[in-house]
């Protein structure tokens, strides 16, 4: 139940912007045109200026002129578009994505937007980057079969903004710092004697700093616009004294932040929200909600809720504010092309915040702010933002009970990450000092990255290209040619499986196909990164990073803390199980030939049901079966080794991250029958290491034992979905059983786990009477969604997940 009448009303009228079946669910959702119009106008007026200045003036024009709005009942104000039902467009990123929107029913300004898209065509990141790839490579990437289409087409990115510097310093202080940097540089270049190699680099830096100034001043002005609007509403449109008072307080807050340091929790929340809007969806589009919220807000929570010396509030008011935040996120509109709308089935965007873990000094970081955030999530019941909880041995039991409460209610979150493992990974692979590493948060769904005042991830070339392993394995058996979906050569010619005479040959073909896909996707990311730093400077994002300010560099260019990872999306366990079946039935037992197998796969097992069942019943991952688990270990090591061969933009090798988003659903129909006994078109495995649906038959501990055999430290993350019994979780022994399970999970050194706690009966009932199950949530992969918003096919894949009985061990 929402904590207050206000949050009940806000939830009831929430302008949700999630998608289902590739479309926005709410019929009122539209594409806003103002951002696109204003950035285009500024671009035309400033051509000839340095790119950083053009970009800063684009942002300035948007913030000065875009229609802003405040809705009734809101405590947190500000949005990314001109109307609360809209999402913005980014014509400077990708021509295809913009045209996809222009041609859709979401766009009411088709002629104007088509003209804007045409104007931007030569300037888009897409046009700048495409020429570095052959038509064949472009064809492979755009087919979205073995690899994700590149960022310069999808326009997809993610970021961890430096919230701390805004909330702690305020922008006016940062403006002073940047002005001093310019003054110092001006003085430096005038010193005698003239020394070109030492002085000329200041020219670019001065441009970057000037751009930062334009951007920060524009942001302060934009917040003041909100302050004025709140005051105007209070004084001219309302009679209710209570709401008038609230609006006058909102006005005061928007005058104060982000210009000055936050005083209490209300300031900090509003300053964070403004910064989120700017970094994630106004200066450019970037997915995510990456921050360690309980760490960021704790000092202000303490001042307002506990000590009550700044912006005093009760605990209930704080919980209400966190509920308002969840609703604000739920109605925040993100624009995505069709491929991404399908990929994020049931969600709006990938909004994931992080809680828990330990502090830089090693003490438990869970505090009453953590508890209030979890309480708000439990009360308001929204899918977004999702929560990741850093499970550390030192974590207190009270907070863990609140985590359990959310999970047992079936939210699918918090997802749990192994705190020690993920902290060590940042230290070991990316040389992050331990104290900084201990403040990590998930960048998007699964990958840890640092938070704080500098060095956080600014663009997704640091991570997140996708390779689709089941399809890669499919073409490894057909000489790199896709016979099933595209009729294209998708990879190198590595031979036809009919001619393979040993299991090693199968393995080698998979390895070479993986290698090609990995290298193509890494190259596309890094080429995109260069184009971003040349043409897509982000002066505001840079202005709030201490490193960018110190060095006079754009955030896209500076990779102060390397953090590269790349995804292996949905299908890893299909590959493992298929390899196990091939090894056993073709090469060990010689029951079938490779030719027979390939004929059966090409014919989707038609007329070969007995044979299919042999392959279906071959050893499967997730049962603590050494035969399958040995192949799994070899496969996950292979992935890590293959990624390790490469060096990315930030100067080090990336780690793989096995997960699925909704890729297991989207990519299933593109993938032919597989040797694990799966039919063509059926869903793939739903995590990064989740046993294939219905194949884990030996209980939850066997799953954990199988997963623990993988060396998780070589990976950025490996996503494990588990479905638990609702009856058991809701019983008196529920917490103790789950806690014991979590201790086993933690003791085995496993990276991640997340849970669906919902009965098959409830899901089936929701399929029949969806209107009665509007709050039934399920976990997809890195995010949760309303069950009723999923396509029938997706719903069935969740019903098919094995329900584990914790009491069975």
């Amino acid at each position: 139940m929402p904590t207050t009448e206000r949050t009940a009303r806000l939830k009831n009228r929430c302008r949700f912007k999630h998608v289902a079946g590739g479309e926005y669910v709410d019929p009122g959702v539209k594409a806003g045109v103002e951002r696109a119009r204003l950035i285009t106008q500024a671009h035309k007026e400033n051509i000839g200026e340095p790119t950083s200045i053009i970009r800063a003036k684009g942002l300035e024009n948007i913030l000065k002129k875009i229609t802003i709005h405040i809705q009734d009942d809101e405590l947190i104000v500000g949005a990314n578009t001109e109307h609360p039902d809209y999402f913005p467009m980014y014509p400077e990123l990708s021509y295809f994505s913009t045209m996809d929107m222009v041609e859709s029913h979401y766009c009411d300004h088709k002629e104007e937007m088509a003209e804007i898209a045409e104007y931007w065509k030569p300037y888009t990141i897409q046009r700048k980057a495409e020429k570095y790839f052959t038509p064949e490579e472009i064809g492979i990437m755009y087919s979205a079969t073995t690899v994700q289409p590149p960022m310069f087409v999808t326009a997809f990115s993610s970021i961890v903004p430096n919230y701390e510097s805004v909330i702690e310093d305020g922008l006016l202080k940062r403006i002073e710092v940047v002005e001093q940097k310019i003054a110092d540089a001006e003085e430096e270049i005038r010193k005698s004697p003239w020394n070109a190699p030492e002085k000329l680099h200041y020219l670019d830096k001065i441009d970057q700093w000037q751009a930062m100034l334009i951007a920060m001043k524009a942001v302060v002005g934009w917040a003041q616009r909100h302050a004025r609007l709140a005051k105007i509403i209070a004084e001219n449109f309302l009679t209710d004294p209570k709401r008038k008072e609230e609006l006058l307080e909102i006005s005061d807050i928007c005058r104060h932040v982000p210009a000055y340091p936050a005083r209490g929790l209300k300031d900090a929340m509003q300053s964070k929200w403004f910064t989120f809007l700017l970094c994630h969806s106004i200066e450019r589009y970037s997915s995510g909600y990456g921050h360690k919220e309980d760490k960021l807000l704790w000092p202000f929570y303490k001042k307002s809720v506990i000590e009550k010396n700044e912006q005093p509030m009760t605990r209930e008011e704080a919980v209400e504010l966190f509920e308002c935040e969840r609703l604000k996120v739920s109605e925040h509109g993100s624009t995505k092309g069709r491929q991404l709308r399908e990929f994020f089935a049931g969600s709006n965007d990938l909004f994931i915040l992080t809680l828990g873990g330990i502090n830089p000094d090693g003490s438990d970081a869970s505090n009453d702010c953590t508890n209030a955030i979890l309480e708000a999530a439990e009360n308001i019941v929204t899918t977004e933002p999702s929560i990741a909880f850093r499970w550390n041995e030192k974590g207190n039991v009270e907070t863990k009970k609140r985590v359990f409460n959310c999970i047992k209610k079936g939210f699918g979150f918090p997802s749990i990450k192994n705190d020690e493992l993920n902290t060590q990974q940042l230290i070991k692979y990316f040389n992050v000092p331990e104290e900084i590493a201990r403040d990590w948060a998930l960048v998007l769904c699964m990958s840890p990255g640092i938070t704080g005042r500098r060095g956080t991830q600014k663009t997704r070339s640091e991570g997140g290209s996708d390779v689709y392993p089941a399809k890669v394995m499919e073409i490894a058996l057909t000489n790199g040619f896709d016979e099933f979906f595209t009729n294209m050569q998708l990879g190198p010619e590595t031979g036809n499986a009919e001619e393979f005479t040993s299991f090693d040959q199968v393995w080698e073909a998979v390895k070479l196909q993986l290698r090609y896909a990995i290298e193509l996707s890494l190259r596309s990311k890094d080429v995109g990164r260069i184009m971003e730093s040349r043409y897509l400077c982000c002066p505001f994002i840079s202005s709030i990073d201490d490193g960018c300010v110190e060095k006079g560099l754009d955030g896209n260019e500076l990779a102060e803390v390397a953090n590269p990872w790349h995804n292996i999306i949905g299908g890893s366990v299909v590959v493992v199980d298929s390899m196990a079946a091939i090894k056993k039935l073709v090469f060990d037992e010689k029951k079938y030939s490779m030719k027979e197998l390939m004929d059966a796969l090409r014919n989707n097992w038609e007329g070969k049901e007995e044979m299919r069942l042999d392959f279906w019943n071959a050893p499967k991952f997730g049962n603590d079966d050494p035969y399958a688990d040995e192949i799994a270990t070899k496969y996950y090591d292979l992935i890590a080794d293959e990624w390790k061969r490469n060096t990315t933009y930030s100067g080090t090798f990336p780690l793989p991250l096995a997960q699925s988003v909704a890729g297991y659903i989207v990519n299933g129909p593109k993938t032919n029958a597989t040797a694990n006994g799966r039919h063509a078109g059926e869903a793939l495995d739903d995590g990064g290491i989740s046993p294939y649906m219905g194949c884990d038959k030996n209980g939850p501990t066997a799953v954990l034992k199988s997963v623990s055999k993988i060396n998780g430290s070589k990976h950025k993350g490996i996503l494990l979905n588990q479905r638990l019994s609702t009856v058991l979780m809701n019983s008196d022994a529920g917490f103790d059983l789950w806690h014991a399970y979590m201790k086993t999970w933690h003791g085995l050194g496993i990276d991640h786990v997340q849970f669906n706690v919902i009965s098959s009966e409830e899901m089936k009932a929701a399929q029949i009477e969806p209107e009665k199950h509007t709050d039934t949530l399920v976990r997809i992969a890195g995010y949760s969604a309303k069950f009723i918003d999923l396509a029938r096919y997706s719903q069935d894949t969740i019903i098919a997940r094995t329900e584990q009985d914790l009491a069975a061990g």
Partner: protein, 58 residues
């Protein structure tokens, strides 16, 4: 033709604000749909010709 300057919904921008420009103001509009009330604000010039929503200030 009336100008925005004389409209009830025109609010001049204070001089101390970052986006202050002489003659520039906020045009504020109340809207309501099935999901509730909200208020929009966009910049206009006092010299702009009034729109259909124009309501003279008392």
């Amino acid at each position: 033709m009336p100008k925005c300057e004389k409209c009830t919904f025109f609010f001049p921008i204070p001089e101390k604000d970052m986006d202050f420009e002489p003659g520039k103001g906020d045009c504020v509009e109340q809207q309501q749909d099935t999901k509730g009330k909200f208020w929009l604000s966009k910049p206009v010039s006092e010299n702009s010709e009034a729109c259909q929503r124009y309501r003279p200030r008392n």
